[in-house]
């Protein structure tokens, strides 16, 4: 709350939200149709989905351009800045809960579902009658119905990726510190390094996926180990991609001379998002790879 009243900017009518709603509609309807048409091949779902994505990208550009222009022309008060910051924090909290659903599935499968199938707790007959010979181990390299796979180790690529992502959090922090001291070229350098590290992470993860699919027989459909592995790392990878794009936009804005030590909400938001993605990876590394 402000003790002295500042003007709170209430934007006039805007077309971007309804364009965004239309885009989401096409994405949802297109994706829903596309997924159904996977088995039959053919159909227009994929095109509708792409059209939706194109509209959303168009909307993001337009909406953000409007917001940046409003911000640069000084329409936003301190109170407005707080609205944005709080909004971003709650958005990140919602993302945490999204990942929590999949971590919950991982822990339930690992600590309850698989042991029970192996006869644990009071489920001796489940194992004896329904899945005779099934042995409960984690990583689940052989499912109850006999699908075999291999477990992904934590050394090698995953470890490199952990180091890369942790380093990128540090370099991004240096960029932030430089911003607060208003050292323009240092911001750009540190931010540039962070972006390169993010891209490096994605390349290595792609390599890991190819290795898993082609050499280890670890796929999305190889039982609950593969399911949780790919959904968790996959959604994380999507977030890294989004975060990298976010940082690239910030990079361009830094080059254009945007952001001051006092006012840099977008930079702050991008940095929060990146640190969040980093923390998720740390949990992933521990629970999916190491333990």
């Amino acid at each position: 709350m402000t003790s002295k009243h500042e003007h709170y900017y209430v934007p006039a009518q805007s077309a971007w939200p309804i364009i965004g709603a239309l885009g989401l509609f096409l994405i949802a309807f297109g994706a829903g149709s596309y997924v159904q048409q996977l088995k039959t091949d053919g159909g227009s779902g994929g095109f509708i989905l792409l059209a939706g994505i194109a509209i959303i990208i168009f909307m993001i550009f337009g909406w953000f351009r409007t917001v940046i222009a409003e911000s640069m022309s000084g329409l936003y008060s301190k109170q407005m800045d707080r609205s944005f910051r709080q909004g971003m924090s709650w958005f990140i909290f919602s993302e945490v809960m999204f990942f929590a659903a999949f971590f919950g599935a991982l822990l339930y499968a690992r600590m309850i579902a698989v042991p029970w199938l192996g006869g644990d707790s009071n489920n001796a007959m489940t194992n004896e009658v329904l899945w005779p010979g099934f042995e409960a181990v984690w990583p689940l390299v052989m499912t109850p119905d006999g699908t075999r796979t291999e477990a992904m180790g934590w050394t090698g690529l995953p470890l490199y990726n952990t180091i890369i992502l942790l380093t990128s959090s540090v370099t991004l922090h240096f960029a932030h510190v430089s911003l607060e001291k208003e050292k323009r070229s240092a911001i750009a350098i540190w931010l540039g390094i962070t972006i390169l590290l993010g891209m490096g992470f994605l390349v290595l993860q792609a390599e890991e996926y190819i290795h898993a699919y082609q050499e280890m027989g670890l796929t999305l459909s190889s039982g609950v180990y593969g399911n949780t592995f790919f959904l968790l790392t996959g959604f994380h990878g999507m977030h890294v991609t989004l975060g990298t794009v976010f940082l690239m936009v910030l990079f361009l804005r830094v080059l254009k001379g945007h952001f001051t030590p006092e006012k840099h909400f977008a930079f702050q938001a991008g940095s929060w998002y990146w640190h969040f993605v980093d923390v998720v990876w740390l949990c992933l590394f521990i629970f999916v790879y190491v333990l």
């Binding site: 709350m1 402000t2 709170y8 209430v10 934007p11 009518q13 805007s14 077309a15 971007w16 939200p17 309804i18 965004g20 709603a21 989401l24 509609f25 994405i27 949802a28 309807f29 994706a31 829903g32 149709s33 997924v35 159904q36 996977l38 909406w63 109170q79 707080r82 609205s83 944005f84 709080q86 909004g87 709650w90 958005f91 909290f93 919602s94 809960m97 999204f98 929590a100 659903a101 919950g104 599935a105 339930y108 499968a109 579902a113 698989v114 029970w116 199938l117 899945w131 689940l140 499912t143 109850p144 119905d145 999305l220 459909s221 039982g223 609950v224 593969g226 399911n227 949780t228 959904l231």
Partner: protein, 534 residues
């Protein structure tokens, strides 16, 4: 809250900033709007249309159940009706109605110029009609729409579901995005936009309950998104989260779903508590009894709501320790809820009560919601739940809390604030007719369901044993009567918008809060300059 006073009576909208504008004309006003009142109106109308849509599906269900044997519809279509009735009522009627009320009222109640993020506000709303267009269109596709119950338990929603399940999944995804954005907007508005002097413990309870509701929404809607994603990959991409053959577990679905689902139940009732806490003092002409205990009780209910999810799953074969834990936690919720009911009754105690329509609905809420609460307490007891599980007793329970709870509070709120929204008094006589028709028919509809359930009639089945025939007939008659009664409400609202006795700024003697310091109808932009609260 009687400490809220308005400094100058002219704190309304007579100092326009130059870029501020009145309401634009035509359809574009509604498509492009960033105004919290316009968006609130959109939400409320959308919710009412969905209420009638979901209601029509309930009529199909009750018509089929009027007599034993298969009468009117195919069993598969019956399943689609129960499923989509639930989805439409939960995500299309009750939640948007509360969001609509929040949009209309929260900025006025806290002395803010608008919601904190007005453009995102518009986006949150306009996603909804599209999402429901997708969901409802799937009913007309080959193989039919969702038929697995609104809870979409695996494997019904994975192995045995219709082809169109993907559309259900993605429509739920975008509904969830809409809810999350709406909730973020509410939280930020309340935390950041309060007028100077509007300290936490001066907030109207509707604002408090919505703040806590919004927190619950942000916490659990993403979990729902995760659940439907796993259903999607299980059905279409060969994963086995909910399939024992691949090391998963169908019971895991229920755990994840109800981790979302139980807080969701409170999302649909906490704002009701806020509405009732505004109306009961207004018509008792007394201050609310126990304001701070109301706040703490709301927060306690919200925290406990994360610890009780498995009481929906007592018959899935959980270890005894888990059954006991969830039983005790569930029963604990009766304590803060009891505090609330006690406070409302104590507010009325020796008050100078008058029974206009909002108060009639509020009193009915207190009595009938409490009945729903008590049957919930019965269901919380693990050993007896084994008997009640998946019977009409459960159906009776949650309709008492959702229809005579959530819906009645929304009706009460609509009557209470209609003069503020439209500038006209609604037709009091018609309102009372609506109330008495509703309250009688709703009890004819749902009360006998308790007996059906106790006698063992299972839910979600289009046929039943002949000994249930008479009671089902009574229930169906109550259902049709309740459905028709809601058309009276539509008539009242339309009549009120079109004209009627002019409402003063504060048409109810006992009402308190900043919204009553504004003229009726409330101006398009209110509180461009925040009021001072002493």
């Amino acid at each position: 809250m009687s400490t809220i006073t308005q400094d100058s009576p002219a704190a309304q909208d007579d100092h326009h900033d130059d870029h501020h504008h009145g309401a634009p004309k035509g359809i574009m006003r509604w498509l492009l709007t960033t105004n919290h009142k316009d968006i609130g109106t959109l939400y409320l109308w959308f919710s009412f249309i969905m209420f009638l849509t979901g209601g029509a599906m309930a009529m199909v269900i009750r018509a089929e159940l009027f007599q034993p044997g298969l009468q009117l519809v195919e069993p598969n279509f019956f399943n689609q009706m129960t499923t989509v009735h639930g989805l439409v009522m939960v995500f299309g009627a009750v939640m948007p109605a509360f969001t609509g009320l929040a949009n209309w009222l929260i900025p006025m109640m806290i002395g803010a110029p608008d919601m904190a993020l007005p453009r995102m506000n518009n986006w949150s709303f306009w996603i909804l009609p599209f999402a429901f267009a997708i969901l409802l269109s799937s009913l007309f596709m080959e193989g039919g729409g969702p038929n697995f119950g609104w809870t979409f338990y695996a494997p019904l929603s994975t192995t045995y579901s219709p082809d169109s399940t993907a559309l259900f999944v993605f429509s739920v995804h975008i509904m969830g995005m809409s809810s999350i954005m709406g909730a973020i907007n509410v939280v930020v508005t309340i935390v950041n936009m309060r007028a100077p002097g509007m300290t936490w413990m001066k907030l109207p309870l509707f604002v408090w309950t919505w703040l806590i509701t919004a927190f619950l929404l942000i916490a659990v809607m993403p979990v729902l998104a995760g659940t439907v994603t796993m259903v999607l990959t299980d059905k279409y991409f060969g994963t086995s989260f909910f399939d024992a053959a691949g090391g998963g577990d169908p019971v895991m679905f229920q755990h994840i779903f109800w981790f979302f689902g139980h807080p969701e139940v409170y999302i649909m009732i906490l704002p009701s508590f806020g509405i009732i806490s505004a109306i009961v003092p207004a018509f008792s002409r007394k201050r609310l009894f126990g304001y701070s205990s109301m706040v703490y009780a709301t927060a306690s209910i919200a925290i406990l709501s994360f610890l009780v999810w498995a009481h929906h799953m007592f018959t899935t074969g959980m270890p005894v320790f888990a059954e006991l834990f969830f039983m005790y936690c569930t029963m604990l919720i009766a304590v803060p809820t009891g505090v609330k009911v006690f406070n409302w009754v104590a507010t009325m105690w020796r008050g100078s009560i008058s029974f206009e329509t909002p108060m009639l609905f509020a009193v009915a809420f207190i009595i009938l919601f409490t009945i729903g609460g008590f049957s919930g307490l019965m269901l919380a007891i693990t050993p007896v739940d084994f008997q009640y599980h998946d019977t009409y007793f459960v159906v009776a329970h949650f309709h008492y809390v959702l229809v005579t709870g959530a819906i009645f509070s929304i009706m009460a709120g609509a009557y209470y604030w209609l003069p503020k929204w439209t500038g006209n008094m609604y037709d009091e006589k018609l309102g009372r007719i609506h109330f008495w028709c509703s309250v009688i028919s709703v009890n004819v509809l749902f009360f006998p369901m308790h007996f059906l359930g106790l006698a063992g009639m299972p839910r979600r089945i289009p046929d039943y044993a002949v000994q249930f025939a008479d009671v089902n007939q009574i229930v169906s008659i109550g259902g049709f009567a309740f459905g028709l009664s809601q058309l009276i409400f539509l008539a009242v609202v339309i009549k009120c918008i079109r004209g009627g006795e002019k409402a003063s700024a504060k048409p109810w003697d006992g009402s308190e809060g900043l919204e009553w310091t504004l003229p009726s109808p409330a101006p398009y932009h209110s509180f461009s300059t925040p009021p001072e609260i002493k």
